[in-house]
Symmetry: C2
Subunit: 663 residues, 2 copies
């Protein structure tokens, strides 16, 4: 019966609104505007379209859902709870409280059913593109006639802010180019941001922009259940282009005096307005966390539906395994993230003089054949970054089973998409550019660390050794600034062997993103060729012990400067100063070693000098004196720049002698 169904829809939508409003009100903090305005969108999407299993949030073939407008997370928490995920009413009542599972913005490792952390605007949109790439790649690689074992949509809800941020345009341009037909974005087009109406700053035509970017677009009444329903259906049918549905909504829907204004964006309601709004929803005017039985029952159908969906998929997978045992095993290995040790055995020893970016290329050539779902590429610098899997096709609309992604000159969207690919599961993403352009991607690098997402970021041309391109292209502060990010492993290998070992660490990481800082220029082979068990895995180690075993001096180097430590040691020991050389490619890994080990490598009672072609600011953590670069670089041939800025053996020797003299 239409009328009762309409009433049930309304009851369900108002239930979402009530729970969200109560949670914000109880927390005295949060964003009520989006959950009220987008409740209908969320309701229709989650109950009429999305395929998921609340009892098993990680069911592999689920539709992925990303609330890019993470500030509206009470919408997501309400839906998760109502649909039967392991998120209780008690959890909702603890919204934004210490150690609750309902933090102020969604966090994937806190809350079942949350695919990624959102909040910083634009990130969800760009990560969603990564999820959709992963699905398209896996479907193309593993599906077979009669066996669509990988087949899901990626849905995102986004806000004005998401679409103002540059990263979302980068990502949408890429998604349009790649024709990601199973990416469907619902834009909560409410015409309001924190400061006021969008007419203050955002008067472009989003619809026409997305058309220009190659998207399928629809404009609808986002408060209408049937309009949202039909639009999602149409978007699903439209398979050649990603879809954006511009849902005209009313922020803070239902609040009699505040709806449609910025006053309801990001604050609890005044008591009177709160009560009036609750009444308008037919709910008790106090904080009650009401779940009408009929509504709850309707939402909870997801539990049985979801179980059935997964069951059907399990059967499909079994049939697939029977007909395609090889493909099935490979896919299952990918889902489990376990391809055995063949790729490790294949890792090359790099005993010649070689740029570490070039050593990285050797790793890709040797090991990636055993890793059938590691996909990625470069932001238009593939010949410089050397990250191409050149025996494998590109990932393009007509070759979706390809491995190499041409991200374009879009470092930010690239790193976000790499995270999305990695978070999706079964796939592992990597992206590459010049080290100095980490700056363009920082919000996504940070988010990888927050999300415990083991993305691999390959940044080459890691110092003033870049040379002629000059200060805008020469990283100086970047190693320091990136090492400061928690749970973010910056590795700067000193030679080919360390580079191979660094790739191994990156590929084996499960909860930490890795950034490989690789050299443009060739570096001599200095470290052991035992890639399977290279001391790099400890982050820092004694490369050369002092003659006689009792150092009077320690020299620490990373990357291209480690060779200077070795040369300086020879000079200093010839002058009677027993000198230890320490390679310290990863502060992150080193800091995680036991104190006893750390002290055995860097003993602060022994005078210590470090050298690194970058900021010295944070080096007092490990050394008493530093050779480094505390200014911007210069445009000139790289070796001249190094000399001009004092990154030399002579300077290191002199600094060491000064230090010893001062003690």
């Amino acid at each position: 019966m239409v009328s009762s169904s309409v009433n049930l829809d309304e009851l369900c939508i108002n239930t979402i609104r009530g729970l969200s409003l109560d949670a914000v009100q109880k927390a005295k903090s949060g964003h009520p505007g989006l959950p009220l305005g987008a409740a209908a969108m969320g309701y229709v999407l989650w109950t009429k379209h999305m395929r998921f299993n609340p009892s098993h949030p990680h069911w592999f073939n689920r539709d992925r859902f990303i609330l890019s407008a993470g500030h509206g997370c009470m919408l997501q928490y309400s839906l998760l709870h109502l649909c039967g995920f392991d998120l209780s009413l008690e959890d909702l009542k603890n919204f934004r409280q210490l150690h609750s599972r309902t933090p102020g913005h969604p966090e994937n490792h806190m809350t079942p059913g949350v695919e990624m952390a959102t909040g910083p605007l634009g990130q969800g949109v760009a990560h969603a593109v990564g999820f959709a790439i992963a699905e398209k790649f896996l479907a193309a690689r593993y599906n077979r006639p009669g066996h669509s074992v990988i087949d899901h949509f990626t849905y995102a809800i986004c806000s004005d802010g998401d679409l103002m941020e540059g990263i979302s345009n980068e990502a949408a341009s890429l998604a349009g180019h790649l024709q990601l037909g199973k990416l469907i974005m619902l834009y909560d087009d409410n015409g309001i941001t924190i400061d006021g109406p969008t007419s203050l700053a955002f008067t472009e035509s989003v619809q026409r922009r997305y058309e220009a970017l190659g998207w399928h677009t629809q404009v609808i009444d986002g408060e209408s259940v049937s309009a949202v329903d039909h639009a999602i259906e149409a978007a699903k049918e439209h398979k050649d282009q990603p879809s954006i549905i511009l849902c005209r909504t009313i922020i803070g829907y239902g609040a009699p005096h505040m709806q449609g204004t910025n006053k309801i964006h990001s604050n609890p309601l005044p008591q009177e307005e709160f009560e009036a709004t609750k009444k308008a929803f037919g709910l008790p005017p106090e904080i009650s966390f009401t779940e009408p039985e009929e509504a709850l029952a309707h939402f909870r159908k997801s539990v049985s539906t979801g179980a059935q969906l997964e069951e059907e998929w399990n059967e499909a997978m079994a049939a697939y395994a029977k007909d395609y045992p090889t493909e099935s095993k490979e896919l299952q290995d990918a889902i489990n993230g376990d391809f055995g040790d063949a790729w490790i055995d294949a890792l090359p020893a790099c005993t010649e003089k070689i740029a570490t970016r070039k050593a990285g290329q050797l790793v890709i050539k040797a090991s990636f054949p055993y890793l059938p779902t590691v996909i990625g590429g470069s932001a238009d610098l593939v010949e410089s970054n050397l990250t191409h899997q050149d025996w494998r096709p590109d990932f393009q609309p007509d070759t979706p089973a390809g491995f190499n992604i041409n991200f374009g000159i879009r470092e930010h969207a690239m790193c976000a998409a790499v995270n999305g690919i990695t978070l999706h599961g079964a796939t592992r993403g990597y992206g590459a550019s010049f080290m100095v352009f980490t700056d363009y991607a920082r919000p996504s690098l940070r988010l990888a660390a927050i999300m415990e997402c083991p993305s691999i970021f390959v940044f080459t041309h890691d110092s003033i050794g870049v040379g002629e391109d000059g200060p805008t292209h020469e990283p100086v502060e970047h190693l320091t600034s990136l090492r400061a990010i928690p749970n973010f492993n910056v590795i700067r290998p000193a030679d080919g062997n360390e580079a191979a070992a660094a790739w191994k660490v990156a590929l084996q990481s499960t909860k930490t993103p890795t950034l490989l800082a690789l050299s443009r220029q060739a570096l001599p082979s200095l470290t052991p060729g035992t890639v399977r068990d290279h001391p790099l895995e400890k982050g820092g180690y004694i490369l050369d012990e002092a003659e006689g075993g009792k150092p009077e001096l320690i020299l620490i180097g990373t990357g291209s400067e480690l060779q200077h430590c070795v040369a300086a040691r020879n000079i200093l020991q010839a002058e009677g100063i027993p000198t230890r050389v320490v390679s310290l490619p990863s502060w992150f890994l080193f800091d995680h070693q036991p104190d006893s080990y750390k002290k055995s490598v860097i003993d602060r009672s022994i005078p210590t000098v470090s050298i690194e072609a970058g900021s010295t600011m944070a080096w007092p953590r490990y050394s008493d004196a530093q050779v480094g670069v505390d200014r911007f670089g210069l445009s000139a041939p790289g070796d001249l720049v190094m000399k001009e800025l004092g990154i030399t053996v002579e300077n290191l020797v002199e600094k060491a002698k000064q230090l010893l003299a001062s003690k």
Copy 2:
């Protein structure tokens, strides 16, 4: 005569091409593709449209020119030289060499006539928007009937990469909204990027995107002098919208085997191809730096034309001064960057408990009335950042004399535009957002530092004290990562007085950008109310000397944690430990003090503990033990997060005692 004029045009264009090609070839490094393909665009723009005075590159009413595609800088250097700027043929021959005035990418303080440093893609486009905002504001504020003393265009040449970067879309959306009719962008639409044809990754319709963003668009043959000429003319006529001219060009134009391919993008040519290309231009096949007399004479007309333009403007300014003496004086003061001391005298002393962002608001209210050309705003957080000049109108299309810019949720374009406003001259820009979102704007923050551009960046909510919004919104590593940028002054004031003094430093800076890291929460008044000569200007100072004058311990704090040092000192002194408290709001300023001063404040022979609600990684530079935050934050009320993560007086006292016990 048409034919000879056509021949002259061709001669001039080929002269640009020849010089550019020779310079790259001689340097054995550089990007020949753009100068060859865009030479016609550059020639037409610089000789037929742009108004400038080569003998006085800083003539105030000049058209501004920005080569956003900075890698093609030989185009710009050739034009500067040919048009008679102080850039010799010898300078061109030293392209990309140590200490030359022709670095690998343009740098404003190295080369006369270069308005800004470019190279990192997208930056030029977004900075150009700032230049155009400045012009529009100044024109609206100072022009009077019959007196158009401010009246110039802002031109930019951009590439595919510029338009792929998200920042350019943010900036273009803002420019369209603001109807910056005197911003004209020539897009070198050559269909090629480093990795190959744009069909690999960039297949959107740029023209339709820019239409959607509110721009006037034209598509033309960019190798045709007349087409470029007419299009620029049409763009100048079209006053209500910014203009983009999509110039279809051929990268590496003239190279018989390499033109139109990515092979000619960023490398010198093979010898044979080089010779063939030079011959195609009717130039000697060797590296010759040929300047045909007729061409040089034509370009050099700019010298007399330019002198005349400036002379006419001087006369116009004199007439303006006569009719509008007050406005004229104000404008002249703005151009000189000198508004006297009234704004300093007006700076408030903030002796109450106050959030430093709130103190910043008091500064704006008190001092900005004396600063008639400081314009800026927030990235949609004005009620949080408190940066509004609320007695003054917004800068909107219908109120171009307004001071408050609604940047939208576009932190990156905001910071770039702020730089453009500041570089323009006569105006000073500022922008604001949350501290954690500095990540979104890093490339523009870095560029400000490289350019010696004294922009003011106001970032509030500077710690885990943000609270409920959780880890995605709580800066942890940001102070460290920003302090590592050379020539970048991060100031984190500890109370209202320090906040006012920090604003003074920022406004007085001439070559260094300043970032004000301001607290969300209220902080007690601790420091002297002498804003005119506050010790903050030294970066660090003794706030409270140890009882008896001989400290056995030093406690260093910044921002919201300085209060903990004061409280800990009381506890420790009560236990008989004479304790000095040091406030260290700016590492940048402190590091520039004489060694003797620094040692008088922080004496490393005295045990020292620092406290700051952020990464401890770089603090060993100043302290022996640290209280800080080396993990991501948490979603909970701010004071609970502070406690949970150990930013407390108790923890500081304990850390100090441990340190003393270990010595």
